[in-house]
Subunit: 239 residues, 6 copies
């Protein structure tokens, strides 16, 4: 199966690491191929960024379908334009937040998300509300590091660890989700650090969650419902 | 006070009627000015249409602020890009769905929305979920008439009346909302028709709700919270 | 339009300030007229006080309608007898809590109320539950100052400021509501104080919210639904 | 133990039957004593009626405590002034709706209430919301018979039976509650009728529920929490 | 009336105290009789323990019915096998958690449970979710003492008192429930200790709640609904 | 990876078909191995059956871990003893309902389950409540065919199709789940039948969902949280 990974930003600084991360988790038979946007923003940290990226995300999803891909992942924890893209195509489309949250629901009593900046906390809480799993959400916390500074992995790991401990102790989280797809390659280390401190909790890498989720959907032979995601009616469109 | 009305479509067929409708409900001292989009779609009937319209809606909102408008209304019941636009400016921004639903919460035990096409029902239900008033929503129904065919007012009025009766009798709605800003000039007639049949229920015109709501916010001297709608961080953006 | 303000207590110590406050926020064309109760209590700080005030609140609302007022505001954050009064008349009736909470829902992700005494916290939370906006309520806090001691404005402002900061930092409130209609003339100052500390959040004055809300309802040409607020059946009544 | 039954209306037409009904269900050692109101209404079928009855209900509750009663039941399914009365005294106070709904939660998956008039349906739904059991409420239905016409027991029983069948078949109710304390002496018959039709469901008599509930509270040695129902602060009161 | 108390463990160390506790709270006419399990575990502190105890709990409930008991109490705060047992018999069956939580809903705005070990906190929260009263649950806390070490009453009382104070101050609990049926004989003392500290809150003993609740059900003449708890279909069973 | 499939009944009539069904959906590298129970019931259609099966389900899960399996599936839509089994082992354990419901949440706005008998409807609704996805559940319907009569595939398919159409039209379901793991080999046909009638909705086979879900968890390298599913404390156990 071939999966198109749409990294919904206009810079390619993450692409190499994204490809490595997805290949780590993808099944052997899954081919993945990473693209960026032509129009949009350098990172997504607001409703504003999501809105600017939306038209090109949809375009890239339609292209993926035309090029014969079996599914498309919009590789961002804000799930930008995921619903719009689902309307546009007949292949499964997933973001990173929904799969992460759904796996988390199964793994424990309550989950927390640790994300980049405070700016996106209401956005993530709203995703949980629309997805219908808000009662399982213990908290959304942030490490206060912008997306484009996530490359300092040690700093990031320490900051994530600190917030995860607070999520466990103060917010009663039993499962943890990395709340940005730029936080790659850290889930295992964080799991081990927390386990050594007495907290044997799952730590979910959102990119990993998205590829395992879409592989599962394809294995099941299902895609998004056309009663929820109806084909957009024909009309004049100028974008 | 000066309010910019952004009709978020690329055709101006509704503008004259929109202006008339808003002036009917606006306070005497309120100046309103209607604009369309340069890029977007001929009507909004899907997540897809909303996503395509989003970047230009934001641009038009920023322009409104620069031109000294006191507030901006995004004149569509899908509330497209409202949250993104709120981040971008320091003047109040409202759509049509949120104000309608909030007034409805105060007026009765449960409300229903009657909209254009089935396509947008999940979108409207999700607005209620994120706004936090989903428990008050009796139902969302549709008349199955596309936006660009709403000009046949008699057909529309009859169809709305029929669905409103069903909303009252089957879904136990006590308040009714017209679920598309293209459904202009009908709220009073529908209220009277229903009243004559024994159902003295408020019927809310969403354009009217949006102008009264933003006038109220301006009268209160408040705008959207900067803790929810933080300023988007500076970065490369190419749209 | 003429609005009757029912200050539902048996003393007139607040009347002058109430009149000034309402005139500050009312539209130019709105005439307001303040009355008190003949039977009731000196302030409202319990379910007990609300129950004792209820019959005369209804009587004063009926009088307002008979005297040709276009709407009635029950000027108390407990919204005492608001539902009963709505049944009794054909003009819109609002309290102070519902309008404040509904505006708050639109302005940010979560709101907190800061009220007078702990006694009324469950009452205010129950208003949010019945109104259907409980999921948006971050917290109800109190300054622990009885209604009849609110005249020391500096003490009150400091106490409100302290609790508002806690609501923001500990309860994650993004919008703030003054939870007593006796807390007049402070919303702007508190907004400015919080803004200077980095929290640009709306602060809602409940009296202001009630007048802007009822003006909006009258502008929309709607009143409470007769399916929720049915006319009370005729019968022997001895009060 | 001695329980004061406050039938919160100004006529005594129900008293004899009320006494018989309560004695049927009370434990042997429980003494019950029935009183009416001096000021109020002939029946309770609206928020309006509840508000008019409230002050005298409180007065009668305080009297009951002074006269050494161990608890007070406000014998009406609207639970009028129950919260206010709980603030005023140190003996347990219950209405009829709360106990009925709480027993129902334990007996089955979902319950319906069948009440007198449509007027009170929103009131009963709001009781369930504030009590916190709204998710268990399948529906509130009415037989469309005013309180003062409930004496035609055959008509009432048939009407109740018909609505109960609809509650079971259409609303998926598994437990049924008689939604007016005037519907006395019918619970067993209705249970048997439904059982014969293949629906072995509990039918709860609200007066019976209230006496068994308050006996249970007294047996547990508990009364309402003073953190929820704080003593009303001293002040001028003129009622 | 005769009630069978099933202490669902394989040791009889608690039986004498259980009998004393139940007799303290039971009505004079209620006969109680305590039994243990033949197969199961020495205490119940996990889903695992509950599952192992379940078959014999059901067997003991069926025996109780055959021996003519009028009702059965499964004397454990996890309510193990209560739903299964209700399917099996035609007499009322209750656990200890449901009755405690339902009484608590009536007594105050929010309740907390203080239980033995952290292990069972998700189980107790899930009981509240299924019972439909989760919105009233302020928190579940633990004293970190295993069931079989509860005999040190002074240590237990102090630990309970400390957690109860935290529940009141930090979690805003207004009603408290002892979250293990092994915590006998302490409710009154704890109530008095808290009252002296200014918190006049009900403290519910779960064994007491269960006996008063089932006596109330029997007094009402009702048992669990056969639409929720249908008779298990006949089939091969080998246990 | 090796997955143990525990068909939690004491007869092996389904095993061959179960093995075929799981192999259809499993990844190439997944080995599956089916076992039954020694003690339990011939089918699971009640809380009663689940309780009787629970101890041996746990035992079989522990055996699977000891024999080196990487995960265990409890192949029943009631998810019997899943939580208890998770406590007992360090490999992931899933039932069939949770994975089906979680995939459904992602695929559309609302889902319905069509199961065997009315008996299990409350059980399935309670699973959704505890899992936290109850707001997404449109309905649970039944075909009124016992588990052991599911072998008549044509009858079953027609009955499922009829109920699915009702779920779509009356309950507004957008995604459908087969609510019994005995309903094998039908999901694709049902999807195609509904699609031809204009309803292009996903139909989820619960066995398929469970194998894809556990493969995904193993691919992610996660298992159930030890903060939710703590190791049961050591004690005397006699089962």
């Amino acid at each position: 199966m071939r999966i198109r990974i749409i990294v919904p930003i206009i810079v390619d600084v993450f692409n190499e690491e994204v490809e490595r991360e997805f290949k780590t988790y993808a099944s052997e038979k899954t081919e993945i191929e990473v693209v960026n946007l032509d129009r949009g923003t350098a990172s997504i940290e607001s409703e504003f960024d999501e809105a600017l990226a939306a038209p090109d995300i949809i375009k890239k999803t339609i292209e993926a379908e035309k090029q014969g891909f079996d599914g498309a992942i919009i590789d961002c924890f804000g799930d930008p334009a995921v619903k719009a893209a689902r309307e546009a195509v007949d292949i499964p489309v997933v973001g990173a937040a929904e799969p992460s949250m759904l796996f988390a629901c199964s793994l424990g009593h309550r989950f927390s998300v640790v994300t980049v900046l405070e700016n996106v906390i209401p956005m993530i809480e709203n995703i949980a509300k629309v997805l219908g799993v808000y009662d399982k959400l213990a908290s959304v916390r942030s490490v206060d590091i912008p997306v484009l500074e996530l490359h300092d992995k040690d700093k990031l790991k320490n900051a994530l660890h600190d917030e995860m401990l607070k999520a466990i102790k103060e917010d009663k989280a039993h499962v943890l989700i990395l709340g940005c797809t730029g936080m790659m390659g850290l889930a295992n280390d964080l799991h081990n650090m927390l386990k050594e401190e007495g907290f044997d909790v799952p730590v979910i890498d959102p990119a990993a969650a998205s590829i395992k989720f879409i592989e599962a959907l394809l294995g099941l032979g299902v895609k998004q419902s056309r009663l929820t995601y109806m084909k957009p009616p024909e009309k004049e469109r100028n974008v």
